[in-house]
């Protein structure tokens, strides 16, 4: 429409160039709405990002600079000494392997089990299924923190004390996961199910062949949620594990916070290290989660 220059090889984003050259008049209406919306969005983003930014920048300061006035946002002579000190002060590499192992196994189990349950709750109409749904909702009413003592006794009676199984198994059933899959499968039209039934597909193969593949966005979302929950679990592993070789990262951090005089330099370093895996996992998968078209392939 507008006469643009001959596309230069540098111009990687021709759309942008066109937008810039577009005559002002028709844009101004959009612009009037774009400016406040964008400004508000970025003010909020700065508010939300600042605490983490301040935390990470502080962790790069040498211990002597942490409390020196005037406070500066950017460290004058950045150092990684806090990280190294934190890494050495506790058996952090072991904690990392332990936590990763627990997270991955629990996540796989949670996604599989929640998908099955959510599908059954959404697509079958039964009195006892409704009852079980209420039961699952009830698990959110009585969180693990509330039932620490009796849960501890149960897991100990099952012979799972001081084992990773004792951390993994009680964490597999999550109401949120079942809820998410149920809500998703409710949006899947029953006609799809009926059509497959008319074609003679068996119930379980309908589930495996049709329903599981279309629920992939939810699976990825729940996988990230679950990984995050388990990575950040603190109280239950602390109660369950006795052997320092089996400790998780959160217990490692808490041992620093729990000290009489908090060593902020080490604490900041350890906290930032513990944040890294989750942020990496999230940044790798965020495309799938954030832009997941939850209604994939099922328009109206």
């Amino acid at each position: 429409m507008t006469t643009t220059d001959i596309p230069r090889p540098v111009d990687a984003d021709p759309e942008k160039a066109v937008a810039k050259k577009r005559p002002r008049k028709p844009v101004s209406g959009n612009l009037r709405r774009a400016v406040p919306a964008t400004t508000l969005l970025w003010i909020l983003a700065c508010l939300y990002g600042l605490p983490v930014l301040w935390f990470i920048l502080s962790s790069l300061k040498p211990a002597s600079d942490l409390f020196s006035y005037p406070l500066s946002l950017v460290p004058h002579n950045p150092t990684l000494s806090g990280y190294f000190q934190a890494w050495r002060s506790a058996n952090f590499s072991q904690y990392f392997i332990n936590t990763t192992l627990v997270c991955v196994i629990t996540t796989i189990l949670t996604v599989g089990v929640s998908c099955c349950t959510g599908y059954a709750l959404a697509k079958y109409d039964n009195r006892w299924l409704k009852a079980f749904f209420i039961c699952i909702l009830a698990t959110t009413m009585l969180p693990g923190e509330v039932m620490l003592a009796p849960s501890f006794l149960v897991v100990r009676n099952l012979g799972l004390y001081n084992s990773f199984t004792g951390i993994v198994l009680p964490a597999v059933l999550t109401a949120t996961g079942c809820f998410m899959f149920r809500q998703f499968f409710l949006t899947v039209p029953d006609e799809l199910l009926e059509a497959a039934r008319i074609d003679g597909a068996r119930e379980l193969s309908i589930f495996v062949r049709i329903m599981v593949p279309i629920s992939r966005p939810i699976m990825l979302t729940l996988a990230i949620l679950s990984f995050q929950w388990r990575w950040n679990d603190y109280i239950w592993p602390l109660l369950m594990l006795n052997d320092p070789d089996k400790f998780t990262v959160q217990i490692g951090i808490q041992s620093i916070v729990g000290a009489q005089n908090i060593n902020w330099s080490v604490l900041l370093g350890a906290s930032v290290i513990s944040m890294i895996p989750l942020i990496v996992v999230f940044l790798v998968f965020q495309r799938y989660v954030m832009s997941a078209d939850i209604n994939a392939g099922l328009k109206d």
Binding site: T117, Y124, M141, P143, E145
Partner: protein, 306 residues
């Protein structure tokens, strides 16, 4: 060929077979969760309920003392303090989180706001942090003598604000920290819901001359009602059982003024070894959470049927 045709015509009209088929499939699908549910939920819940009628201290024998634990609980001022503090926290946290995440989700979905992809990541990152790290982070930010916030306030000529030693301010910091953490999650649910609203509704509305506010209140809000219900329910439950952030931020302090219910239960149960008494408190908490859920279910159903 004829045989196959007869098969097809014979199988659908047998309702009893069909029903049994539909019973088996869901049963297989939920089997794993039923087992986990009975092992790690029903069993501890039953044990806990039994303990709540005893004077069990964690070791040795115990006696059944009837309703004495519950009786004592009614007259326990520490318990009342924990209960009112928890309710106050929920009343502050849930609307703040709901409003913030709905606003942000709308901004991110809107095509007018630029840079949404990056902003979305920024909003989501706090949710990835563990409650302990969140507590450490906000403690670092709101430290009375060394925190950035007080430093900025002092630069602008204000006095140091007692974020840690004033009980109400301390609660406020936790409310902010928790809303900050949970926005990413609620936002994600809202974004998915808003994106599922058919675009044709908005196109029709703007043809009829409805402005953005009208579109939001008449189309978006009613369309995402089921998601709003989930967000409010999950956040209320999260608020009622909040514990790690309080501990990491200020150890439920100053003193014990911000000990919420779960911390009260944890401390009576594990630190003082009164497992029976703590179990009774747990069941009071459970009844409150149940009531919240049932009220919200009823409200939700009424809104949806309207």
């Amino acid at each position: 060929m004829t045989k196959r045709a007869s098969d097809v015509s014979a199988s659908p009209p047998s309702p009893s077979r069909r029903r049994s088929k539909y019973t088996l499939a869901p049963l297989v699908l939920i089997a794993a969760n039923v087992v986990l549910f009975s092992l790690f939920f029903v069993w501890p819940a039953v044990i806990g309920l039994v303990y709540s009628f005893t004077n069990y201290t964690g070791v040795g024998a115990f006696q059944f003392i009837g309703l004495e634990n519950y009786h004592n609980l009614i007259g326990d001022s520490t318990f009342y303090n924990a209960l009112t503090r928890t309710l106050l926290y929920a009343v502050l946290f849930v609307p703040l989180n709901f409003g913030a995440s709905l606003l942000i989700a709308n901004l991110l979905v809107s095509k007018h706001a630029k840079g949404g992809t990056v902003a979305r990541v920024i909003f989501f990152i706090p949710w990835l942090l563990s409650p302990i790290v969140v507590g450490v982070l906000w403690r670092w930010l709101f430290g009375e003598n060394f925190g950035l916030v007080n430093y900025i306030i002092e630069q602008f000529g204000g006095g140091a604000v007692p974020w840690q030693s004033n009980a109400d301010l301390s609660l406020l910091v936790v409310v902010m920290a928790a809303s900050w953490t949970w926005t990413g999650f609620s936002m994600l649910l809202f974004i998915a819901a808003i994106k599922n609203v058919p675009v044709s509704y908005y196109e029709a509305a703007s043809l009829d001359g409805a402005g953005p506010w009208r579109q939001f209140f008449s189309i978006t809000l009613p369309s995402i009602a089921p998601t709003s219900f989930i967000v409010i329910l999950l956040n209320t439950i999260n608020a009622m059982k909040e514990y790690p952030v309080f501990v990491a931020l200020n150890n439920g302090g100053p003193g014990s003024s911000n000990n919420l219910l779960v911390q009260y239960i944890y401390e009576t149960g594990f630190k003082r070894g009164q497992i029976g008494y703590a179990s009774a408190a747990s069941f009071v908490l459970m009844i409150i959470l149940m009531a919240v859920a049932i009220i919200q279910l009823i409200v939700n159903r009424r809104v949806e049927n309207r």
